[in-house]
Symmetry: C2
């Protein structure tokens, strides 16, 4: 057993968090590297987590009236250039197709880094009247951004995501959509992935290329760094003007519509790993766990598979190897049942998050197992929230902020005057970026932590992935 266990051993978080992360994604068999740097193979166990995320989010998108579509993979250079902020933001990091077969293309095409321009072209073709609005579209696809440094799930050259793109008759309706979808993300990440998030607005510096305003959900990872988990953008009529999208309103006047976009990606898998994982491997919230429960008795398995994603273990490895393997894979609940348990009409459930054991009567597994799965989720959430609270600091002066940033991993609450110069200064002097202007404002002083002038907002600052 010890040999087998050794094979699976991973670097401890405390020794080297980055190596711990890499060990987990490889040894839990989530990914394999391919010969194209920054492009991953997502293996069955990793892809199954993504399929659960897709299914749960897609249900919410459908409930809120959205329809799925598929846009082309390629964007002609001239189309990408139509909105000037947008092209400035994305052109430096796109992959360019220059040849089809043996022929050089007349115009080079980029592999979509995001699809605003394609949706705009389609809307220009199909939106003529107020009767055509709103259009509430979503797309599940892969996108490509030619990043210099890459890490599985967190930053890769190709990644899977969904991108919602909507178009509305009025700015109010578009703004409402932007907020609604941020809320859908926040609710999903909080309640199903069991990760607490801060909802807020991005500063102008951190805004999406071409947006009027960008909203975000920010989560804290085990190492105190922030991870942007999802964003929702309000575009005003900027894209509509750039792409010539107009519609006849109820008085038959030609006016510009207002747009939004919003997205989450396979980065959420990175968030799950770094928010919940431990030195034994993955810890998965039950909503997205490919296997929710593992146990060893056939009769019980037949009953359990009706109430959860039960898996039965029939391999011939030692119990020690198996337990290490299930822990690595983050299975939320393990059921142990031996001959004496059967005699006593009971089994033992072991939680992955805190290893707590519960003895259950076999008569009540159908009700108790789902409760225990919920308890794992609640436990994960409470742990993550407690960790975030313990690692969130307040700074009222620049020296204080620098001292915290240098010595204590985590988030820093501090006031800001609203000037880009102060935001840049904090990045340069303390190495932190603005994470968001949270909706829940807690003014911790009256003046900007950097320049001392009157403050406009309380911001969260931190180091980020």
């Amino acid at each position: 057993m010890s040999n087998e266990k050794l094979v699976k051993s991973i670097t401890s978080m405390e020794d080297d968090f980055a190596q711990w992360y890499t060990d987990v994604v490889r040894k839990a068999e989530l990914v394999d590297y391919s010969s194209v740097r920054g492009c991953l193979v997502i293996r069955p166990y990793g892809y199954a987590i993504w399929e659960h995320i897709q299914r749960l989010l897609n249900d919410r998108f459908v409930e809120t009236g959205h329809e799925n579509v598929y846009m082309p993979l390629f964007i002609p250079e001239s189309l990408l250039q139509k909105e000037k902020d947008h092209v400035e933001g994305f052109a430096p990091e796109v992959a360019w197709v220059t040849h089809g077969g043996n022929e050089k293309l007349e115009e080079r095409l980029c592999v979509r880094p995001t699809s605003e321009t394609l949706f705009c072209e389609h809307y220009a073709n199909t939106v003529q009247s107020y009767r055509d609005l709103p259009k509430l579209y979503n797309q599940w696809c892969s996108v490509v951004r030619w990043e210099k440094t890459t890490r599985p799930f967190l930053r890769s050259r190709e990644f899977l995501w969904q991108e919602g793109h909507t178009i509305h008759a009025t700015p109010e309706q578009a703004q409402e959509e932007t907020t609604r979808m941020l809320g859908v993300y926040a609710d999903f990440v909080t309640n199903q992935l069991a990760i607490p998030v801060i909802q807020g607005q991005k500063t102008e510096k951190e805004r999406f290329a071409g947006a009027v305003s960008t909203y975000t959900i920010e989560a804290m990872m085990h190492d105190g760094k922030a991870l942007q988990c999802g964003t929702s953008h309000y575009f005003g009529d900027g894209f509509a003007r750039a792409f010539g999208i107009q519609f006849a309103d109820e008085s038959n006047r030609l006016v510009y519509p207002h747009q939004t976009s919003w997205g989450v990606s396979t980065r959420l898998i990175g968030a799950i790993i770094m928010a919940h994982g431990d030195d034994n491997g993955l810890v998965l919230p039950s909503a997205v766990a490919p296997k929710q429960v593992l146990e060893r008795a056939n009769a019980l398995y037949e009953r359990l598979r009706k109430v959860c994603r039960a898996a039965i273990d029939v391999c011939d490895q030692s119990p020690g190897w198996k337990f290490a393997e299930y822990e690595m894979k983050g299975v939320p609940l393990r059921i142990e049942i031996g001959p004496r348990d059967i005699e006593q009409n009971q089994c033992v459930a072991v939680r992955r998050d805190n290893r707590e054991k519960t003895v259950l009567s076999l008569d009540e597994v159908e009700t108790r197992i789902p409760q225990l799965l919920d308890a794992v989720r609640d436990g994960l959430y409470e742990n993550a929230l407690a960790r975030r609270s313990a690692m969130t600091y307040t700074a009222r002066s620049l020296p204080e902020l620098i001292e915290i940033a240098d010595n204590r991993p985590g988030l820093i609450k501090a006031m800001w005057c609203g000037d880009r110069a102060c935001e840049d200064a904090l990045k340069e002097r303390a190495g932190v970026s603005s994470r968001c202007i949270p909706f829940a404002q807690e003014p911790v002083s009256d003046v900007c932590v950097c320049c001392g002038r009157p403050a406009k907002h309380m911001l969260y600052w931190g180091k980020a992935y």
Copy 2:
């Protein structure tokens, strides 16, 4: 009404089948063109059909033990070149990425035209022992082939598909898998898409690049042309040798595994359109119809949505416009219910396939509507089968085959000696390609229709999409 209806009118099949097809895909709002030639926008109504196909097939893949994965979008040129038949087949029609951001890549990357090479690279990394086999993987993704001429769904530069890739310890297991998955496709297309198919093997000429044998399901379209609807390939150990995939068998000897791949694509949507459509537009088999039933009474709608994908019509257009619109969209069943119907506790169901009206008691809609949906499917299948029978001919001599090919659209059964030269000659002299060597052999003579030497197989020949 006449004006509105005029807008929706389409070219009749008889006048111009190709234009009829184009009219249907545009006016039923399945697709929109993008500014990249050969790359389509799949609109909500078209994408919903694909989502139903995905869901129904994916269930069958899971039932037969397959797991979903995601492979990279890009293949380095050197990786594509590892298997020589494969690269010869695909290199002339791939899109090449040469630049990432502002930098020229050291090695150009092709956008995957199919992913055998990527799966092989991954198998080489992960398959070491017989205990690792089989691996039964599937991927849903888009692929790119730089075609010269394109038609929506039938031949486009980018298309959506699934590609199964499996690896087995023995040739027998791999061959069994190849046959099993062809059977899954045949069953799905026959029973859920209501399209009769011929199952058989491709000739060497028509074989997939790199395969030992390729199996196919072939369907006949309204115009008598054949459409290849799905293929399943047996690779032997050719890819394993080219990519250096070896495993230790139970006697600890290093041996080569055997592989398969199999795929269907959004081309199936083209098959549905051309097998079932009519001069009023789409006719959708109920299994994949985004809306199965349309009706106008709220109380009835609440009951129907529990047994089918019911949609209620609340728009203020005229009944004539609505009926034309639903017919265009191929909704399998339309429910009419007026004040007098309500008085008499009844409604009228109108089938899309034959416009047959059935008066139903409101008490029995939950049982009768699903039966009627099945009846539409059966009706579609019987029609398509009768059309195929009527348009299938037998040729016993070359002049006879040429005469049929020149004058009668459809499939031709004829004997073949097995020589590529005769296959080429039939293409040149009669304009037909071999569709398949059907599993169900019906020897119609003893000698090759072309050269008169002893025949080996009965083949289906025809013009194809």
